[in-house]
Symmetry: C2
Subunit: 141 residues, 2 copies
DNA sequence: CACTAAAAAGACACTTTATATCCTTTTAGG
DNA sequence: CCTAAAAGGATATAAAGTGTCTTTTTAGTG
C-alpha cells in the first residue's frame, strides 16, 4: 500500500542525476537513462512531464537535451513526485468528501487529511540539492 | 499516488461499524455490508482476513456472524489497514535496499523511511473507539 | 438425522493501472 | 537538406484492483 510507482522512482533518479550536474549543463536523455538505469523511452515520457511543469528545460535538435529548470535547492522532492504521480491522496474522500459515503460526516476523514499533510511535509522538506550531495536529509532519519 | 484501495476503505467501514456495536454483539455479514454500503461478497473476503488476524471473531452456522476481536480502544487504524493492505511501504527500497539501485547507498532512502514512520504514526494513534464514537481523532486535525 | 443458516475457501471474470515500446512529427544545428 | 534530439501519439503486455460465483465446512434446530 501507498507505494511509489516505478515511474516515480525513475523520475527521482533522473532528476537527482541532473541536480548533481552543473546547473547549466545540458544532458542527453540517453545518457541520463543509462546513468540511472532506466528505460530511455520511459524516461523520455517522464521528462516531458517535468518539462511541462518547468522542473527541467528541454532543447531539441542537435546539441539538445535537458537541464534543471531551477536551482536544485529550490526544487523539493514533493514537487518532483507530484509532477509525475499526481497529488498525494491517501484516500479519495480527502479530495471528494461526498465519497465518505452515506453520511455527510466521517470520523476517518480527518485522519487521512493528517496523513496527507505529514507525507507532503516530509517530501517538501527535502530538496534536490540535498539528495544529490547528501547532507541534511539523512540527519533527519 | 499513495491511495488507499477500495478494499481498505471497505475494511475500515466494516470494522468501524462493528466497533460501534456492543462488544459481544454478533453481526451478520449481510447486515454489516448493507449498513456500510459495501458488496457483501467483497466484505466477506475482507472479514476473513480480519478473522485470521484476530481483529474479529467469526461464528459459523445458524446464529453466526462476526464480532470485534478485542475492545475497540485496543485496535488501531494501523492494524486494520495493514491487515488488509499489507505493510505500508512508500517505496520498495524501504523493504529491500538493494533496489535503490546501482550504488549501495541512496540519499532518498531515509526520506521514504521517514514517510513510512509518519504515516504509521498517524494511523497508530487512532483507535476504532475514537472512529466509532468520534472524539479525539478530529481534535488533531 | 435431516435441514437450514452462515462463514470459509477457491476459482474465475472484468476493469483499471502500471510499465513500457514503437513510430511519426517537430525543432534546431551544421 | 541532412542529421540529431526531443515531443507526441498509439499500441502492447503485465499486474493489480474489484468483484462474483460455486462449493465446502461448521453449527444450530425441529
Amino acid at each position: 500500500m501507498m507505494e511509489l510507482t516505478r515511474k516515480g522512482e525513475y523520475a527521482i533518479r533522473g532528476i537527482v542525476y541532473l541536480a548533481g550536474k552543473p546547473i547549466d549543463k545540458v544532458c542527453l536523455l540517453s545518457d541520463i537513462a543509462a546513468a540511472v538505469d532506466v528505460p530511455p523511452t520511459f524516461l523520455a515520457k517522464i521528462f516531458q512531464q517535468f518539462s511541462k511543469m518547468g522542473l527541467v528545460k528541454s532543447f531539441r535538435g542537435t546539441g539538445g537535451g535537458f537541464m534543471l529548470g531551477r536551482a536544485p535547492e529550490n526544487i523539493t522532492l514533493l514537487e518532483v513526485v507530484e509532477a509525475v504521480e499526481g497529488q498525494i491522496i491517501p484516500n479519495r474522500c480527502v479530495v471528494k468528501p461526498s465519497d465518505c459515503g452515506r453520511s455527510d460526516y466521517c470520523n476517518v476523514h480527518p485522519v487521512w487529511k493528517r496523513v496527507q499533510g505529514e507525507v507532503r511535509g516530509v517530501l517538501e522538506g527535502v530538496t534536490l540539492k540535498e539528495l544529490s550531495t547528501g547532507e541534511p536529509a539523512s540527519k533527519t532519519n
